[in-house]
């Protein structure tokens, strides 16, 4: 089957029920997308499919086709200059960093849909788990990214 990942078409040889996460990580060597739970609870595996945040650990590749544009953290921007990445750098958001690919992808999708999210919007939309507890800086980072995106 063919997948469109970060604007490249890949030929993928995998069982149809293989989650997108594992195809990305093990076959396309895009390891920035992380395995955290396997049941769509933690969000470490968040990618975009046609701009929408999707938890890739429960998305079977057989359900996807090459018309759907998959974006991973590696393809979010050229030179890591997406407003969310710039905001995260400015505020030194990550601690261990393991959940941050998912956190950044979830935030980027939120800002496309809602350019100026309120704190309540953030509470509703960002349900990713971070065991280091970077939430305070994530919240500041989302507001800063919203500003940077407008500018």
């Amino acid at each position: 089957m063919k997948l469109n990942v970060n604007n490249r078409i890949f030929d993928v040889d995998a069982e149809e029920d293989t989650p997108l996460l594992w195809v990305l990580r093990e076959q396309l060597e895009l390891t920035g997308t992380k395995f955290g739970c396997g049941i769509a609870q933690c969000g470490a595996c968040t990618v975009h499919i046609d701009g929408e945040a999707v938890r890739s650990c429960v998305m079977p590749v057989g359900a996807l086709n090459a018309d759907e544009k998959i974006t991973t953290i590696e393809g979010l921007s050229e030179g890591a200059d997406h407003p969310v990445q710039r905001a995260w750098l400015e505020l030194d958001v990550p601690q261990c960093g393991y959940c941050q690919s998912g956190m950044i992808m979830a935030t980027a999708a939120l800002l496309e849909e809602n350019p100026e999210p309120s704190d309540e919007d953030i509470d509703d939309a960002i349900t990713n788990i971070c065991r280091c507890g970077t939430f305070a800086r994530v919240r500041k980072g989302i507001h800063l990214a919203a500003e940077l995106k407008k500018a």
Binding site: E15, T18, G32, G36, T72, P94, C96, Y98, C132, R137
Partner: protein, 731 residues
């Protein structure tokens, strides 16, 4: 008092004497691919070092050696700041690299302990690394002075450029680094007064942020080696049980499967070309277990054992001043409460994993471990090879929290790799395996008893702790001759790094050790969590019984605890004790002392229709010195998130010997909507006092401050955790 580093160092020295330190690093007979970016093995250039801590390339780039593990706590950056402060190079040229335990072995442990635990990443090695940086600076200046034929005293350095003022000549560090490395290290290495610090003590950015924003940071799970296979493992669901047999007929037919093996007599692992295929096949293996005697034990049985310990006549005494029994017997009023605290798992975001390659001649392991030398020892044992034939390449950790101090998972990875000599194999746990085969926060109960006199002053206080010792299971060197475990008394010890907050007229703290079969181990802060909940909740209960303000009630007992008192005063002032920021909000206080740092918190909560909102926590911490204030703030916030997740949601329970929680649906962790605003006051008390830690101490105060605020809001005193499932409706 409780020093984890020293016994480890002693046993390690014994080990070295016994085996002899031989041979330098190993060479690897295969090439890297994506692991290359993070592997210091591959990165090491031909540039000789200035000393063990500092390598400077001809282009003036500086590599700082760090042996402590980076797991999010910022130690990598903090230690580099301390080296660079003394080295006096340009911070913009700095990167870091991890030496390996094998190199350490070959070099007589020149970097000291790799163990990154008990909040001593910085506090226990700060002097050593600063001296390393200062010695390198002296050697670099000496090399330049010799080249010019002038006294070193006439030379100065700024940002890695050495200047001879009289002649105006300059040399960069990169130009003299090779010569400097040939020099005899100085014997006198004076250190800068912290008041003159320019790099250390400043809120500078972490060195490892950029790679964490674009997917390029390599963690253990991301290691990829040529020809590598992957493995998934399932151990006996009851700890102590064994593997009887397994039928792999169906699994062997599944795509990608290479080998299905028994591991350690208590687990089955599938090795396949991808991890996903390995794990699918593992699900198809039919396994017969002998669950062993622990299959008869459930949480209620453990509860009964701990209840018995509350009344036991024999107990280890951890802190005793005066005659608490007599003081309580003579009191006008006696208050008693019993608290309990559950098992909890670490649930690092990155599940346990390690990658190993084994041959009859050597074994190399890539592992996110908090315990480099412990990992090495575990790998040596599992590999069945000599210490000098084995090495560990550390990779960044996707969280540690104590789980990665133990190396049980690493042992399994080596045993799996041993099944396919010459082929690298990466073992990754499922989240289910990670949570059900963990080593947990220990379970304890406490009965608190105190007497109050006619004036409402405490006459004496007793604290009986009943429950588990983590040291008996995972830190045996800490167990004393009489069998007691000093770690149990964290935050209620008579003196030292875990000193009790109050100077009670009489106090008696003891421990009835009861060790259920569930494996316990360190867990961010470990015993400071529940001990501070017990003490600080009970102090509020006593203040109420005495009809006194909780702040004043505490202060009266803290006249000989100036550092404890300072942080308590700081949160009371900054958090405006007595004046909640909005109607319907209620406040709670907590203070403690852990890992050499004084910590306090003032929480503001509201409870509406039984629903709790933690609005804000004002925190204060005094770690003696602050190496990177913005990272200390991050650690305070993070520790509060970790501690509040535990308070609000987390409990590991046992049914017929099995751990019942196996993923984030049954073992929830807080998300951003639960996170309170956190304001942090950092106090640097300074002086000639051993520095305190940062990563763990503040976790102790979040939960009790919130519990005391919940009481203020509802009149409901909660003595059993977590809060989920407990009604918070007003009493």
């Amino acid at each position: 008092m409780i020093d984890l580093a020293e016994p480890q160092a002693i046993s390690r020295r014994k080990f070295l004497v016994g085996t002899g330190a031989t041979g330098a690093g190993l060479s690897l007979g295969f090439s890297f691919s994506s692991a290359e970016a993070d592997s210091n093995w591959a990165q090491k250039s031909a540039t000789p070092e200035v000393n063990a801590w500092v390598v400077i390339d001809p282009d003036d780039s500086v590599r700082i050696r760090v042996v402590k593990s980076e797991m999010g706590q910022g130690t990598l950056t903090g230690l580099a700041q301390l080296v660079v402060e003394e080295l006096e190079c340009d911070w913009d040229n700095v990167s870091t690299e991890y030496p390996t335990p094998g190199e350490s072995l070959a070099r007589n442990e020149v970097w000291g302990s790799f163990l990154t635990a008990a909040s001593f990443g910085i506090r226990k090695s700060q002097k050593m690394v600063r001296e390393g940086g200062a010695a390198a600076r002296i050697m670099l200046i000496g090399a330049a002075a010799d080249r010019w034929g002038v006294p070193a005293g006439e030379c100065s350095v700024e940002k890695g450029v050495i200047t001879h003022a009289n002649t105006g000549r300059t040399l960069s560090y990169g130009e003299v680094a090779t010569d400097a490395g040939q020099r005899t290290p100085p014997t006198e290495v004076p250190l800068r007064d912290p008041k003159d610090w320019k790099i250390a003590g400043k809120p500078i950015k972490r060195l490892d942020t950029e790679a964490k924003l674009n997917g390029s940071q390599i963690y253990g799970v991301d290691i990829k080696l040529d020809g590598m296979l992957s493995a998934s493992i399932k151990a006996c669901p009851v700890w102590g049980g064994t593997l009887v047999s397994f039928n792999a007929d169906a699994a062997n037919q599944m795509p990608g499967v290479r080998k299905i093996v028994a591991i350690d007599g208590n687990a089955v692992a599938v090795i396949a070309d991808t991890w996903w295929r390995a794990n699918r096949a593992l699900e198809a293996v039919e396994i017969e277990w002998d669950l062993g005697e622990n299959a008869n034990t459930s949480s209620s049985d453990i509860d009964n054992v701990l209840n018995e310990g509350l009344d036991a006549t024999e107990a280890f005494v951890g802190n005793s001043v005066g005659d608490a029994d007599a003081a309580i017997a003579e009191a006008a009023q006696v208050v008693t409460s019993t608290y309990d605290y559950p098992y909890q798992a670490h649930a690092t975001m990155e599940p346990m994993n390690a990658t190993a390659i084994w041959t009859p001649e050597n074994c190399n392991v890539w592992a996110p471990t908090q315990n480099g030398q412990g990992a090495h020892a575990a790998a040596v044992e599992a590999a069945g090879l000599k210490p000098e034939q084995v090495d560990i390449t550390k990779v960044h950790l996707g969280g540690g929290f104590g789980r990665r101090q133990s190396n049980d998972w690493l042992r399994q990875a080596v045993l799996i790799a041993k099944e396919l000599p010459g082929t690298p194999v990466k073992l990754i746990y499922t989240r289910e395996e990670d949570l059900t085969q963990s080593m947990y926060h220990p379970v304890t109960k406490a009965r608190m008893t105190a007497g109050l006199d006619e004036n409402g002053d405490i006459t004496g206080l007793k604290m009986r702790i009943s429950g588990q010792s983590i040291s008996v299971f995972s830190l045996k060197f800490l167990i004393q001759d009489d069998g007691s475990d000093p770690l149990v008394f964290q935050a209620v010890a008579p003196e030292g790094d875990f000193q009790i907050s109050y100077g009670f007229p009489a106090v008696h703290v003891d421990h009835a050790m009861r060790n259920p079969f569930v494996r316990p181990a360190v867990w961010r802060g470990v015993n400071i969590n529940q001990n501070t909940i017990y003490m600080e909740s009970f102090m509020d209960e006593l203040a109420e019984a005495a009809g006194k303000d909780p702040l004043e009630f505490r202060r009266k007992l803290m006249s000989e605890r100036p550092r404890h008192l300072a942080v308590l005063n700081a949160v009371a002032e900054r958090g405006k004790w007595g004046s909640p920021s909005a109607p319907g909000r209620h406040q709670g206080l907590a203070v403690s002392f852990a890992f050499g740092s004084a910590i306090a918190a003032l929480a503001e909560v509201s409870v509406t229709d039984g629903e709790l909102t933690v609005h804000k926590i004002t925190a204060a911490t005094d770690p003696v010195r602050a190496v990177n204030p913005q990272q200390i703030e991050a650690q305070v916030e993070g520790s509060f998130a970790y501690g509040l997740s535990a308070l609000l949601y987390q409990e590991i329970t046992v049914a017929d010997g099995r751990i019942e929680q196996d993923n984030f649906d049954s073992y929830p962790s807080m998300t951003i909507s639960d996170m309170p605003e956190v304001e942090t006051v950092i106090i640097e008390s300074g002086g000639d006092v051993e520095w305190g830690g940062v990563g763990e101490p503040t976790i102790a105060v979040a939960a009790p401050a919130v519990l005391n605020a919940i009481y203020a809001a509802t009149g409901k005193r909660i003595r059993s955790f977590p809060l989920s499932g407990i009604s918070l409706s007003e009493v």
